[in-house]
């Protein structure tokens, strides 16, 4: 044990120096750091929301709404296929009910042919599990009362949900962080959830507003066939809906249900000001297909109105004065410069494929976190000094000093590992840190006490040191393995958040503790021993 292999010496030196460098940003202020080339790109430890302040939001994708949307699409497809069939298959009453897309055939004798067409032309094959097994995306059946029903298969629903969550995740990222610079993380959790973590975010309300809005922009024609008294009574013909509008003159606008164009057809949008009235507006530009359709519609409907609808609410319903062929236009509707910018950002980021609901929300003001950090730092400092004094008193300058050096190196390495991996330090993480340091110190104490036992039994110093390390090692190994196992288990089970933070610090700590308590301590003791060849150890 006292003859330390050179590679071990190098390992200790290299790891310690690397640790010091990587952990340095935690101690050196940003202003100094920027001038030192090595430190420039390194970052300090990420602090969790409980320490730094910020917002944590967990969203759930509204699967029911998503499915309903998709079933509506499926009904459209079914109707199209039957219409285009040769000879044509007639149907009545199409709609979505009980999780199924359904329509009724006029002539029940067509059922077999209809099912066959639908199965081949509407349903697609989707991967179901591994081994190249596929199943139909929609299963079509004929009910006893003569309806043709289409239901999505389980695999299809799951895949659609996943896709929607992934899309939502991207849309959210574009909305809250167009430049991709902030520390905000947007992660999928499970199948239908998204977790947004915005450390340091001061204004969770704005964040929520930006994320939560579906931002589905649609263009509809206004229905002129509704009599004013029907409108007042809320009676509208099929295919027309009443949509609310922020206007005392016209609180509801009857519009055709079918959207002619949507936000998907936009190329770009930007906030600007109307050239005549100078009021804030949102300018937009359609892509080529959108521009063509918009041109046709405006040509055919001059002197009629169309409605611009955002998430089921009419923003504006202007008159078409002349055909708009250039594919660009502007939306005006009681905007402020800020709200115009917000809407255009939303439109640029795209619509969410399905509504999101918040199921967990946590927000901590930075000032509160700041107090926690300051108190934490102060108490860590005092505790550290006390432990240092105690160890020096208990084991003397040499052995006490060695254990404190090992402890400090351990702390530095943990900080370095956390800075490097970008893991967030949370309050329970601090507890994990304290536990780790306590167990690491315990390893030193175990080694020393073993040495003392051996000295008491009358062994020579060299042999006592040797036996101290090798006997204590078994105990240290057992203790650390149990910690590692428990930490890894917690990592796999715990939801993201405090407990995971605890498990992560513990995992890092196990490795650094074994490294410092064993290698660093051993190296220092061996150096001292070889330099002085003592007749007795100062701890006996």
């Amino acid at each position: 044990m006292l003859n330390v292999a050179p590679w071990r010496i190098w390992l200790v030196i290299i790891v310690t120096i690397a640790g010091l460098v990587i952990a340095a940003p935690n101690f050196v202020p940003q202003s100094y750091r920027a001038n030192i080339p090595v430190l420039k790109d390194l970052r300090p430890v990420n602090l969790g929301l409980d320490l730094q302040g910020g917002a944590y939001l967990m969203y759930e994708v509204d699967v029911a709404a998503l499915q309903k949307q998709q079933l509506e699409g499926a009904v459209d497809d079914m109707a199209r296929v039957l219409r285009e069939a040769k000879p044509r298959i007639s149907y009545t009453g199409r709609g979505v009910a009980n999780g199924a897309a359904r329509l009724r055939l006029v002539n029940p004798a067509d059922a077999q042919r209809a099912l066959q067409l639908l199965n081949t032309q509407v349903a697609t094959d989707v991967q179901a599990g591994g081994f190249g097994r596929t199943e139909k995306s929609i299963v079509f059946t004929q009910t006893p009362d003569g309806l043709i029903e289409g239901r999505f298969s389980r695999v299809q629903i799951e895949q659609a949900t996943r896709r929607a969550v992934d899309q939502s995740r991207e849309v959210i990222m574009r909305r809250i962080d167009p430049g991709g610079v902030s520390e905000t993380s947007v992660q999928r959790q499970g199948i239908d959830r998204i977790v947004v973590q915005a450390p340091g975010e001061q204004d969770p309300e704005t964040l929520k507003r930006r994320i939560g809005q579906t931002a589905r922009l649609t263009f509809h024609l206004v229905d002129y066939n509704v009599a004013p008294e029907d409108l007042a009574a809320g009676r509208v013909p099929p295919g027309t809906v009443l949509m609310p509008q922020d206007s005392p003159v016209e609180p509801f606008v009857p519009v055709k249900e079918r959207a002619l164009l949507s936000g998907d057809d936009l190329n770009s949008s930007s906030p600007s000001f109307d050239q005549q009235t100078n009021e804030p507006v949102v300018s937009f530009k359609f892509d080529s297909r959108g521009a063509r359709i918009f041109g046709q519609i405006t040509q055919q409907n001059v002197q009629r109105r169309f409605a611009v609808v955002l998430d089921g609410k009419v923003i504006t319903a202007p008159n078409i004065n002349e055909p708009i062929l250039g594919g660009s236009g502007q939306i005006s509707g009681n905007f402020t410069p800020e709200s115009a910018k917000e809407l255009s950002d939303l439109l640029n980021a795209g619509a969410l494929p399905a509504p999101l609901t918040i199921i967990e929300q946590r927000a901590v003001k930075a000032s509160l976190g700041q107090d926690a950090i300051e108190a934490g730092q102060k108490s860590t400092m005092i505790a550290g000094v006390l432990v240092l004094i105690f160890m020096l008193l208990a084991y003397g300058f040499l052995f006490g000093g060695i254990s404190v050096v090992a402890l400090v190196v351990n702390g530095v390495l943990i900080l370095a590992a956390m800075s490097l991996t970008g893991a967030a330090l949370t309050l329970p993480g601090v507890a994990g840190l304290i536990l780790t340091l306590a167990v690491a110190l315990d390893a030193n104490v175990l080694i020393y006490e073993r040495m003392r036992d051996e000295l008491k039994a009358g062994r020579q110093p060299a042999i006592a040191i040797d036996a101290g390390f090798s006997r204590a090692m078994i105990t240290i190994f057992d203790a650390n393995i149990t910690h590692l196992g428990a930490a890894l288990l917690m990592m796999s089970l715990a939801p993201p958040g405090p407990v995971k933070g605890f498990a992560w610090t513990l995992t890092i700590g196990v490795f650094t503790s074994v490294f410092t308590a064993v290698l660093v301590t051993q190296l220092l003791v061996a150096w001292w021993f070889r330099a002085t060849r003592p007749k007795r150890l100062p701890i006996h």
């Binding site: 199921i359 104490v445 288990l489 407990v499 933070g501 701890i539």
Partner: protein, 323 residues
């Protein structure tokens, strides 16, 4: 005189096991009492624990009206008028801040309700600021509770497996019963002082388990070693000897830990206080249970001496070679 370690007697001969019958009985009673306090009233999800919003669902809002004092009565009135369940308002610190807790009405979205309440509070009390908001939906809180419990049980189970593998079944059972004892008493502590039981509290319980298992391994490891050394010594004496031999280590590590945690409790601020207290409790209880729960169980389970010796032998064969 210095280093102080020399002050500790070279050899101590405390008869620990002699006290075991009394202390084991007390421990058992304390465990039963803790279990009772934790479970009764049998009301899901938390029984006698003062569950935070993490596990019960609902909303917690921390407000500040610095530098003015919080008008607790008005705050309670405004929140109460919002048609939410079980409103609790409590001033804390220098009374310029207060904690508001309430339940989400059946079927409503916790986050939406929280936003509505905050809007009402802002309107009624100008200048109030929201330092912290936590709104947890019922579905999420149920999952968190479930996952927390699973993490705890799985953690303890894993310890059992490992100690079984390394030390044999009797030792494993001894350590795990002692761990369960520590966890139960910690639950009891939370229940009796109505400390808020949150995800962070689960973190501190895990920390207690971590410290306790470390302590048990140290003691059991010494017992195993002595089993091999003194083949004919009665188990009682062997345990006394092992505990005496590890006493100086127990004292130094324990004192260091308690000292550091004491500082944290004093200067660490509100956030670290609960932690530091729980962990200090854990150090004391973990050290105690190594000596008075884990070790006597070896005797109770009718040691084991042979099994322990075998385990010692087995571990010689399979001893992991470390540097």
């Amino acid at each position: 005189m210095w280093p102080l370690i020399k002050l500790l007697p070279e050899k101590t001969n405390f008869r620990y096991v002699a006290l075991a019958p009394v202390l084991c009985t007390l421990s058992l009673l304390a465990c039963l009492a803790s279990l009772y306090l934790t479970l009764v009233p049998f009301k899901p999800p938390c029984g006698g624990l003062n569950c935070g919003v993490d596990f019960r669902g609902g909303t917690l809002i921390e407000v500040s009206t610095k530098p003015k004092m919080v008008d607790v009565g008005k705050l309670r009135e405004v929140v109460g008028a919002q048609n939410v369940g079980d409103v609790q308002v409590q001033a804390f610190g220098d009374e310029t801040a207060a904690m508001v807790k309430f339940e989400t009405p059946e079927g409503a979205n916790a986050s939406v309700v929280a936003d509505r309440v905050k809007a009402a509070v802002s309107a009624a009390i100008p200048g109030i600021s929201f330092e912290r908001t936590e709104a947890v939906g019922a579905q999420v809180s149920g999952e968190l509770l479930m996952k927390g419990v699973i993490a705890l049980l799985a953690g303890i189970g894993l310890m059992l497996l490992y100690i079984w593998f390394r030390f044999g079944l009797t030792f494993g059972l001894g350590a795990v019963i002692a761990l369960a004892h520590d966890v139960l008493l910690t639950f009891g502590l939370f229940a009796i002082f109505k400390l808020e039981f949150t995800l962070v509290a689960v973190g501190s319980i895990l920390t207690i388990i971590g410290y306790s298992i470390n302590d048990k391994i140290v003691v059991l490891d010494r017992v195993r070693e002595n089993l091999r050394k003194y083949k004919r010594m009665p188990m009682r004496d062997l345990i006394d000897l092992s505990v005496n031999e590890t006493l100086s280590r127990t004292i130094i590590t324990g004192v260091t830990g308690l000292m550091a945690l004491g500082v944290m409790a004093f200067y660490g601020g509100e956030a670290l206080f609960a932690f530091a207290v729980a962990m200090a409790f854990g150090i004391v209880i973990g050290t105690y249970s190594s000596i008075y729960v884990a070790a006597p169980i070896l005797i109770l389970l009718g040691i084991g001496k042979r099994e322990g010796a075998q385990a010692a032998k087995a571990s010689d064969d399979s001893a992991v070679q470390l540097p």
